[in-house]
């Protein structure tokens, strides 16, 4: 049988399964539809542009595009540049090649009233501007869907735009500074050569003027950030590193103009531009690795459902959460998250409350039970009456608490900042002292000024400014190699100062899903039937059993002889196989079937019975992750206090703690109590690192000095935290700490190098031995030493 390519998506299938359309072959109706649509629209050159790339076949879109026209949607995502021109930011799903970008833009541009469609190929984000009088947003979405892509909105928030703008501004400033400094260098080479071999004053002045021209944009355009920084520093009553940079470069600049105009002495223009360029580079590295806290809140809002379905008489209407009143009837379907607290009035099903309580087991709800907002319906379709409005519901309270926690997050001042304050004031003082000393030890005003300025120039903290950013970038790279994601460079230093580690149990120390630890077989039975039975369920316990059976019973296929497999919520599964009644579940299910179970255990138990006879018992347990004990031992070896907090019951908490070697355990802790515990520890002077994965850890993660999330934890936990362990392992946790300590050590080394360097050169400057050449050379060498030292650390720590 020959294989052929689908004419739209280019995926290869057997010829017999393809849809034949004269000469054309399609893998599905979706592809066929799009192919003909493109042909009609005259866009078939898409296929030549696409080349050998393959696409994902289009998926059926069930979601109505009308949602995109609702006022609630517009309020959140659409901006209006003027009366008629509206703008939205979308993420386009399904972009595989540059031709996809072309096709989308082209198809959208063909629509009347669509003013601008620009798609970023790298991140698939699109900006679309349209005339609201001619076109509706839903029509635009329909068009994108009809050509086989999907679009969903994202908040192009202020924060993201601002971050991009700031980064771009730095690019511009760096481009100017680098250009000027590089040109300055070859002019400077001529000047240094002239200094030793003699040069007429005329040529010297020409070179000085050229340098002057180059140094001006560097100081006033590229260096603007330092003026700004120095101003804000002064307003807060602090002499910052910016202040030193600004005074040094401005004085040197003015002095050099004076030299150039009077045509005597040596100009320092090259030092001016070099200082600014180096320090700007350090600052740029800082900007790149900065995290914007407010972005997190935005994600939090995304996590909150913005609309709920309200039952009004016979009709179900989508209503914005803030419009729901107490007493309204709300409909919740499978997979939906409740936004409002209430009481069930109709229907039943299980809910996942692990978000709030940390309990992994699903909770069965029926009429009269309480629905807590923030929990997710697993299989329930039910109606419930709102008991609170949105503002007073649990979920909204949680969001508010989180916002507070993030605002009050302690910020530990960085070593370099603290150091540079003392350093800057000291240097300024020394420079002034030197000037007066020279002036009264009779020298001319010119000469004294030059020596005073040379002190500032030589002390200018190029190396100091690079010390921290270069070291932290090395730390970030080391972490990234080991799947440890530091979200913000500044946090590395805080992490290194940690004194206490607080760990969540489920999903952090343990694997988060139960595994069979003990299986007892009472009667002979067909294992493949059991496998088929448990495979039909997605409950974590069933999955644990599936995993166990597949591991122990080699080469076993799930028998397909079972029928009528039914899941009974909070009980288990029942079904029929070859006429026999089979059942698997907990003790309650066995009781219902008239089987008496005697085994008592603190573990989860799963019984399997055929025709009312107990055949097997499985004990399941949430096991600790691999190497958990070693990793916690490592952390303890550093002298850290390690604590376990869990919402789970005490018995299992102590068992796990015992297994991994944690002595300090607190069980039955709620989300708020976790945060309080951390706040209390901080009050006692601890620098606290919190590691967790669930929504019940959110407040604690946000409140801790460092929050660490597991890579497979909930999205929101990842957002709130400062460090993400992508491979979920506890080894990474210990390693993250080791890397932080090492990086902090590196920062200290780098600061040491630059300070020693200054300590050696400042006396020389005060004695008046510094010429422009020496200043330039010493500045470059100290910066190179700092960068070199960081690189060395990178190579050594493999």
């Amino acid at each position: 049988m020959s294989n052929v390519k689908c004419d739209h998506c280019h995926l290869v299938f057997r010829d017999s399964v393809m849809i034949h359309d004269e000469e054309l072959r399609f893998c599905c109706n979706g592809c066929k539809g799009i192919y003909h649509l493109l042909k009609e629209e005259g866009l078939e050159s898409f296929y030549t542009k696409m080349g050998e790339a393959t696409l994902a076949p289009p998926t059926q879109q069930y979601e109505a595009s009308e949602n995109f026209d609702s006022p609630a949607f517009h309020e959140r995502f659409v901006t209006r540049s003027n009366d008629n021109l509206w703008q939205v930011s979308l993420i386009i799903e399904g972009i595989h090649c540059a031709a996809c970008v072309w096709l989308n833009e082209k198809a959208l541009h063909k629509m009347p009233g669509l003013m601008e469609a620009h798609i970023n190929y790298t991140n698939n984000k699109a900006r679309i501007v349209w005339d609201s009088q001619v076109l509706k947003l839903s029509a635009i979405i329909d068009m994108i869907r009809s050509i086989g892509y999907n679009a969903y909105p994202y908040d192009a928030t202020m924060q993201e735009t601002r971050a991009n703008k700031e980064r771009k501004e730095y690019y511009l400033r760096m481009a100017v500074a680098t250009f000027a400094s590089m040109n300055m260098m070859w002019i400077a080479v001529a000047q240094y050569a002239g200094y030793f071999s003699g040069m007429t004053q005329e040529v010297k002045t020409i070179l000085n003027i050229a340098e002057w021209i180059l140094a001006t944009p560097v100081l006033f355009y590229s260096g603007w950030v330092f003026y700004r920084g120095a101003y804000y520093g002064l307003r807060n009553g602090a002499i910052s590193m910016d202040m030193l940079v600004v005074t040094g470069s401005t004085l040197a600049y003015c002095y050099s103009i004076y030299i150039t105009v009077l045509e005597k002495g040596e100009a320092y223009f090259d030092s001016v531009s070099m200082i600014i360029t180096f320090v700007l580079f350090g600052k740029f590295l800082e900007v790149l690795s900065r995290k914007y806290a407010a972005d997190t809140l935005d994600v939090m809002n995304k996590y909150v459902p913005s609309e709920v379905s309200v039952l009004e008489g016979e009709t179900i209407r989508s209503v914005s959460v803030s419009e729901v009143n107490v007493g309204d009837t709300i409909v919740i379907r499978t997979g939906e998250r409740a936004a409002i607290d209430g009481e069930v009035i109709w229907g039943e099903g299980s809910f996942d409350e692990s978000n709030l309580t940390g309990e992994a087991e699903a909770i069965f709800k029926r009429k009269g039970d309480m629905i807590i907002s923030g929990t997710t319906s697993i299989d329930a379709l039910l109606h419930y009456r709102a008991l609170k409005d949105y503002a007073h519901s649990t979920l909204n309270n949680l969001v508010n608490l989180l916002e507070n926690a993030m605002r009050q997050k302690p910020r530990i001042e960085q070593l370099a900042n603290r150091l540079s304050q003392y350093f800057s004031s000291m240097i300024l003082f020394l420079a002034i002292a030197t000037f007066w000393a020279w002036y009264f030890w009779p020298h001319t005003f010119d000469q004294s000024l030059m020596v005073g300025i040379s002190v500032i120039i030589i002390a200018c903290p190029c190396a100091l400014a690079l010390a921290t950013p270069v070291a932290t970038i090395v730390g970030l790279a080391l972490g990234a190699k080991r799947s440890i994601l530091f979200k913000s460079a500044a946090q590395i230093e805080t992490m290194a100062k940690a004194t206490m580690f607080v760990l969540d149990k489920t999903g952090t120390i343990t694997q988060g899903c139960p595994a069979v630890v003990c299986a007892t077989y009472h009667e002979r039975f067909d294992r493949s039937v059991l496998l088929a039975l448990v495979s039909s369920s997605k409950h974590p316990i069933s999955r644990g059993i599936v995993e166990y059976l597949e591991k122990t019973e080699l080469q076993m296929d799930a028998g397909n002889g079972i029928s009528e497999a039914n899941e009974i919520p909070a009980r288990g599964i029942v079904g029929r196989s070859n006429g026999a009644m089979i059942a698997g579940g907990n003790a309650f299910l066995m009781q219902d079937m008239g089987i008496v179970t005697q085994i008592k255990s603190d573990k989860s138990l799963f019984y399997y019975a055929v025709d009312g006879k107990l055949c097997a018992t499985f004990e399941l347990q949430d096991l600790p992750k691999e190497k958990a004990r070693e990793s916690i031992g490592l952390l303890k070896g550093y002298g850290l206090r390690v604590v376990m907090l869990t919402g789970d019951h005490a018995a299992s908490a102590f068992r796990v703690a015992d297994e991994v070697g944690i002595d300090e355990v607190y069980a039955h802790v709620t989300a708020q109590e976790k945060a309080d515990f951390i706040a209390k520890a901080q009050g006692e002077g601890h620098v606290v690192v919190m590691a967790g994965d669930g929504v019940n850890d959110l407040l604690a993660l946000a409140g801790a000095d460092i929050g660490i999330a597991m890579g497979n934890g909930s999205d929101i936990a990842i957002e709130v935290s400062d460090i993400v362990l992508l491979n979920d392992s506890l080894t990474s946790l210990a390693e993250a700490y080791a890397i932080s300590r090492r990086t902090y050590g590196l920062i200290k080394q780098n600061l040491g190098i630059s300070l020693i360097y200054n300590a050696a050169t400042i006396p020389l400057a005060m004695m008046g031995y510094i010429i422009p050449l020496l200043a330039a050379v010493s500045m470059s060498i100290s910066s190179l030493l700092v960068v070199g030292n960081s690189m060395r650390s990178r190579w050594m720590y493999k």
Binding site: M115, E116, K168, A175, I206, I213
Partner: protein
Amino acid sequence: MDSWVVAMMLGVSLFLGGVALIAFLWAIKTGQFDDENRMMNQVKFDDEKELNDAAEQEKKREKLKKKEYQPE
């Protein structure tokens, strides 16, 4: 004479360099480096049709502007 040559050479080279720098700054500012993948593929989508498309969009925009300026 010598120094005049030095001054001229310096002036010309700085001017040329400056022009290149300004072009580069303009390119950054207009977002031409924002999307590295698209930038690499740009040459594939740069024929007559694309120009016509861009012109069409421009026309649309102008039409809208005219509509707005219409006296009430």
